[in-house]
């Protein structure tokens, strides 16, 4: 009777449109984040994450509009991240309907931002998003330990990832979104060592991200200590349905949420059999 493992699809949104091909057979407009969000909600997603990859901050108004329309139609939690730099950014996203806000680079540059957001809106609002890679020497050999990166994993910061997550939780982050940049895009499974290392140092929930390629990949992440699992491409391309991931988690002994909607609308079962993707999603 414990809390269910949350299964969270993540959508990259650029100027109000979903980027990195989403490929469901029966969508009127596969680029519309609102329609996709509704679809994922019907399929049993426990939460949704929008990553705003809009290059120019002057185009943010489209993002706010997408969040507003999604929150008006989809009654599950919505996290929005990407380009969040100030308390005012957070306030604006909450006001248009986000439940949680992901903060990444801005918190590395100025960790006090975490405390400022938590003090004003409550710790539950702030998701610390950490892009993490294994430390390597000049030859590319793994040397042990994990490092926080910026610029989509391309630039190292030298900051120890496990310590950073623990510090963020102390400052008031309500949750850690742990992105393995090594595993991202490989579809070879989550980085369970990274999850275990962070789990050992933080008390707040940990969302595992990066590397999901099949339903069998999710249970090991949970066994390593993840409270929630996030994936993008495998859901978008219809390779794997949210129900299949929950089936696999349940078989491994982890509690999952089964929506009433799924039981009452059998058409979803056929719909999840969507067209196969031609190419995998690039790494974020």
């Amino acid at each position: 009777m414990s809390v269910a493992v949350r299964v969270i699809p993540c959508l990259d949104v650029d100027d109000g449109r979903v980027v990195k091909g989403v490929n469901f057979a029966d969508l009127r407009d596969a680029g519309d984040p609102v329609e996709l969000a509704r679809r994922y909600g019907e399929d049993g997603a426990d939460e949704l994450t929008f990553l705003d990859v809009t290059a120019s901050s002057s185009d943010r108004s489209t993002t706010y509009d997408v969040v507003r329309r999604t929150a008006e139609e989809v009654f599950i939690p919505l996290t929005v991240g990407g380009g969040v730099r100030t308390v005012e950014d957070v306030d604006r996203l909450l006001r248009v309907g986000a439940d949680k806000v992901g903060v990444n680079t801005a918190a590395i540059a100025r960790p006090e931002l975490i405390a400022e957001v938590a003090d004003r809106f409550g710790a539950q609002v702030l998701v610390l998003s950490a892009d993490v890679r294994r430390r390597r020497d000049d030859t590319g050999a793994v040397t042990g330990g994990f490092e926080v990166t910026t610029h989509g994993g391309r630039r190292g910061t030298g900051i120890d990832a496990v310590q950073w997550c623990a510090r963020a939780a102390d400052l008031g982050a309500g949750e850690i979104l742990l992105n393995s940049m090594d595993a991202d895009g490989t579809k070879a499974g989550f980085d369970v060592e990274l999850i275990r290392a962070v789990r050992g140092e933080v008390q707040v929930p940990v969302i595992a991200s990066g590397g999901a390629g099949s339903p069998a990949h999710f249970a090991p992440a949970v066994q390593a200590g993840a409270d929630a699992v996030l994936a993008a491409s495998i859901f978008h391309f219809g390779e794997v349905g949210i129900g299949e991931v929950k089936d696999a988690l349940e078989r491994a002994g982890h509690p999952v949420r089964r929506g009433r909607a799924a039981a009452q609308t059998p058409r979803l079962a056929e719909d999840s059999d969507a067209t196969e993707a031609s190419s995998p999603r690039n790494s974020t």
């Binding site: 809390v3 426990d46 929150a71 009654f75 939690p77 809106f121 539950q124 929630a228 009433r260």
Partner: protein
């Protein structure tokens, strides 16, 4: 006739979702802090904002406390959500061990959840109290929680219907006490189960 609901607007945070969810289940909804409008609506919904201190301070500044008491005294329905449940109790240890006072309508104290992972963030099953009207048709459902503090279930019921959930220990997930109801979880974020619960409340108005 369409039931009118005022969502009390007394601080920042995401209140848009609860407004939309209530509209979705057929209520006519107004988001306002106007005491006359809030007093006159068929139902008053008190959302939770931030932490316990921010919530009770914001409520008092908006005359929310007297509004709630006056409505309850004349049997007019009120529904509190999340910290909106917590403030109805005696007090909370969120900001001081001595417990900051709440409205004290219900006996009990809000305390930190004794669990390995806190906040309790996610979908947990709720065991409805006997005879619950809020949970009609919702006997075996999970609802979305996000909180670090809760009222431990002490088994005390008095005239109340108490529904419970578990995280570290068994705590109060919802209370129905005549016109006054409250949920620790977020029905507006709990998918179809949450909409059904809100519909049950709106239909009772």
């Amino acid at each position: 006739m369409t039931a009118s609901v005022v969502v009390l607007d007394y601080g920042s945070g995401n209140v848009r979702s609860v407004v939309r969810a209530l509209e979705h289940v057929g209520a006519s909804v107004e988001l306002t802090a106007d005491p006359a409008r809030a007093a006159g609506a068929d139902g008053l919904l008190v959302p939770g904002v931030g932490n316990f201190h921010a919530c009770i301070a914001g409520l008092r500044a908006a005359r929310g406390e007297e509004l709630v008491r006056a409505r309850v005294a004349r049997d007019a329905p009120v529904l509190g959500i999340c910290v909106g449940l917590q403030v109805l109790y005696d007090g909370s240890t969120e900001h001081s061990a001595a417990a900051e006072p709440g409205m004290g309508i219900w006996r009990g104290r809000v305390e930190r959840l004794p669990a390995d992972v806190v906040p309790h963030m996610g979908w947990s099953p709720v065991r409805p109290g006997p005879g619950s009207a809020l949970f009609e048709g919702l006997a075996d459902e999970r609802f979305y929680f996000v909180h670090s503090y809760a009222v431990p279930d002490d088994g005390e019921r008095a005239s109340r219907v108490v529904s419970t959930a578990e995280h570290g220990h068994r705590f109060v997930a919802a209370v129905e006490d005549g016109p006054l109801s409250a949920t620790q979880f977020h029905p507006e974020k709990s998918g179809d189960a949450g909409l059904r619960l809100l519909k049950n409340w709106v239909r009772s108005l």
